[in-house]
């Protein structure tokens, strides 16, 4: 029989609100997405020299993961190799892909930006989270039409059951055309700050909350 797994913490950022473990920590629905993300970064004083160099998708993932791991410092509990990062979205890196395309579409004004180009893959955001937190475990980025709790739940269970990871940071980070949503959670075999059973129903409930 497979051991139970638990959702031990989560962070949700959408509609101008930041919610960590069920508590609303910040709210400002007046700002467009880019300004909102910067205001969250400033509000929580998440000092990180590379933050402003990231694309909007990575900035969103960075903030969500930082707030998540501040609420639940799993890196004090697990080895770097035992923490996985499994994230999905629907827009991939289309926002920055378009920005890159704009720099190369005119042959007479052809100046591709290296700093833009390096973000033209969605899994770069996993790299940013891994670098920030010194995480060296399994990582994968999926692209789906919408959040697939069955698939994500099953994938994370498989990682934990096969001891490829002892804790997984997982969820959904999407940013495109001023629409954004981040939903990241930690999944562990042991009970933690929250002890929500890890299953499809709970994942959907928290994602839609």
């Amino acid at each position: 029989m497979k051991a139970k797994k638990y959702i031990t913490s989560y962070c949700s950022i959408k509609n101008g609100k930041v919610n960590v473990n069920g508590k609303e920590l910040f709210s400002d629905s007046s700002l467009p997405s880019v300004d909102f993300i910067k205001s969250v970064y400033k509000h929580f004083q998440l000092n990180y020299p590379k933050f402003y160099k990231m694309d909007h998708l990575s900035k969103l993932a960075f903030i969500a993961s930082d707030l998540l791991l501040k609420s639940n410092p799993i890196m004090q509990k697990y080895a770097a190799e035992d923490v996985s990062i499994i994230i999905a979205n629907s827009a991939s890196s289309l926002e920055i892909d378009t920005e890159h395309q704009n720099t190369i579409s005119d042959k007479n004004n052809y100046f591709p930006s290296p700093a833009v180009f390096v973000y033209t893959l969605p899994n770069i955001l996993i790299g940013e989270i891994a670098i920030r937190n010194c995480i060296k475990g399994e990582n994968t980025f999926f692209i789906f039409d919408k959040f697939d709790s069955d698939f994500m739940g099953s994938y994370n269970n498989s990682l934990l059951d096969s001891n490829k990871a002892k804790c997984s940071i997982s969820g959904w980070v999407d940013f495109y055309e001023n629409k954004y949503q981040a939903f990241l959670l930690t999944i562990e075999k042991e009970q933690g700050i929250l002890n929500i059973e890890h299953n499809s129903e709970q994942l959907n409930k928290l994602y839609n909350n």
């Binding site: 020299p49 402003y52 160099k53 100046f111 591709p112 930006s113 290296p114 700093a115 390096v118």
Partner: protein, 84 residues
Amino acid sequence: MDALIDQLKGEIIEQLNLEDLKKEDIDADAPLFGEGLGLDSIDALELIVLLEKNYGIKIANPADGKKIFQSIRTMAEFVQANKK
């Protein structure tokens, strides 16, 4: 030269997304890489693009980059000498 240094500071802040810095925070003689502004290898490529895009200057020999990008002042001196 001072006007060019000031202009370069503004362009670097914009091009490298150094949003938390103002022109007056940047010492024209401080190292651009390592200490000082703490730029990285991607930033170095951005500076090469900046010189080409804004001043029409191509760096023919990449080995020259180390001297040119020592500080904002050395960049300004290079631009002044090679601007088209």
